[in-house]
Amino acid sequence: MKLLVAELTSPYVASPLPARVFRVGVGVISFYTQWTLIPYVFDLYSTRYGIVQGGTIGRLTYLPTIQDLVAWLSPFVPERASLPLLFVTNMTATLAMTLGLWPRASAIVTWVLTSLFFFAGHAQAYGVDFFRQTYLFFLVQVACATRQRRGLAPLPAPPLAVYRWLQFFLCIVYCTSGLSKAFPDVFVDRAILSNRQWFDGSAIYRALLRPDLGRYDFSWLPHWIACTICWGTLFLEIGFPLFVAIKRTRRAAALAVCAMHMGIAVTMGLWTFSATMITAVTVAYLLPAKRLNRTSERLVFYDGRCVVCHRVIAWFSAMRGGFVPIRQLPSRRLYTHSPLEFDLHREMYVVDHNKCCSGAAAFLSLLGDSCGVPLAWLGRWSTVRHAYQWFAKYRARFGCAAACERHCRSITD
């Protein structure tokens, strides 16, 4: 438990990149869906003019729907005007959320209005609408869990716990989806369901040969391929939590799920559903979530009299943390309780939350942090390490003027 809390509240915070990708991805897909539904707003959501009139199908929830809101507005604005107006308001909020304008407010407005439309039109909703509901609420969490800057500033990085929530959520989604396919009589409370569809390959034929879903004629599909697809889907979905828990198989599992969704999109035409799920999987498992907290303390010890070091540090000086030239230290042992028990003159050191790296790894971690790409691991390569050590040993010979001859000699000696 302590480890879990430590992980979720670690000084590392999630990188802002996945949050931005998720916000833009979900926003673009939602906006596209709304755009395509503009001509059919009355068909799908109107109480009086819809294909299914109000009251025909029971309410999904006791929460107000867009039809209730239209009814409340009817003394002031007729339905012919209020419904399109609310729809366009929802589209505007979605666009603002996508562009990162007033992220918290736009995410909340988008979620609320999309929910109102979803409650009213739950009869015609399919997978993507249910997931959009979850993801918009996730984006509200992301927006509310971060400090927002005014104006056009993008969202800062949300806490790592929010990403862990998304990762765990996707594990539950795929695992229960796989288990429901394999054992529908156990996981689905319908006695009429047959549990052979995903074992004998008929689920693939039923899905691909349905005129409303299948985009191409797959009646020629050999039975063994249909069975392979079914068994592969069950294996991937049920084992998904295990595959992503193991670091070596995480990327492969995420890519396999993305490929599965691409297959669904191409063969069944469920493009927005697949795009939504691919976005979520990419954000949760394929993009780097961790990045050093910009507010944490970091100290970089370097040789302030080395011209090359001085220039490199000047380049990094806009970054967070302190930069300490070792000649300015009152003594060689800066912190008596810190792990710094070495000769600072030999190479550069970076100390961050009592974690220390030196030499090539220190330089590359700084370089990587400035670019947003983890590069410190390159410092473990012996070639890189030896190259840095060679440079560090003879660093005084690079770019030094005659005036520092005494200093250079003192280093090389």
Partner: protein, 173 residues
């Protein structure tokens, strides 16, 4: 581990939300909780955390309603609720949902009401129509063995209902 009130609140909220997700995935009925059942159910629906992710756990056969209108002078003419050929795939999927919901309506009264609702839409589009015959067809897909033998999927009529304009009357043939 340094925890402040903000972090604790966030963690508790995320944990509670995840509990909803797990319960929803296990098809727990939130309405059965005494006192707070309705509130919990509404929260689960609004946040999308009470979904059960059994998509395509059993692929159902497609149901298709066909509508035949009877005018005062014309013969029976087939019409449709929406023109899938002229709309985007996304709009088509949402419109198909208005038909697919038929199978989710549990009782016969509700299904009749849904058919009347479809018919009412067509009555407004074709004001001269006196009656509409709704023919429900099921797309039957052969088993893999039958497909190997060369059998083809077929539409089978499962029900036919006539809805009149002035006074609701149905006749099942």
């Amino acid at each position: 581990v340094r925890l402040n009130l903000r972090k604790i609140t966030l963690l508790v909220f995320l944990a509670a939300n995840m509990a909803f997700v797990v319960a929803g995935a296990l098809r727990f009925k939130f309405e059965t909780i005494p006192l707070v059942g309705e509130v919990a159910s509404d929260y689960g629906i609004a946040t999308g955390s009470s979904n059960s992710f059994g998509f395509f756990c059993s692929v159902p056969l497609q149901l298709r309603p066909r509508f035949f209108v009877d005018g005062p002078s014309e013969k029976e003419q087939e019409v449709s609720l929406f023109d899938a050929q002229r709309m985007s795939r996304e709009a088509e999927l949402h419109h198909l949902g208005t038909i697919g919901v038929f199978k989710d309506v549990p009782d016969k009264t509700g299904r009749d009401q849904l058919i009347r609702s479809w018919a009412a839409t067509l009555f407004t589009r074709f004001p001269d129509t006196l009656s509409i015959t709704v023919r429900l067809e099921l797309y039957e897909i052969p088993t893999p063995e039958e497909l190997r033998r060369g059998e083809k999927p077929v539409w089978r009529v499962v029900n036919s209902i006539r809805v009149t304009r002035v006074k609701y009357r149905k006749e099942t043939r």
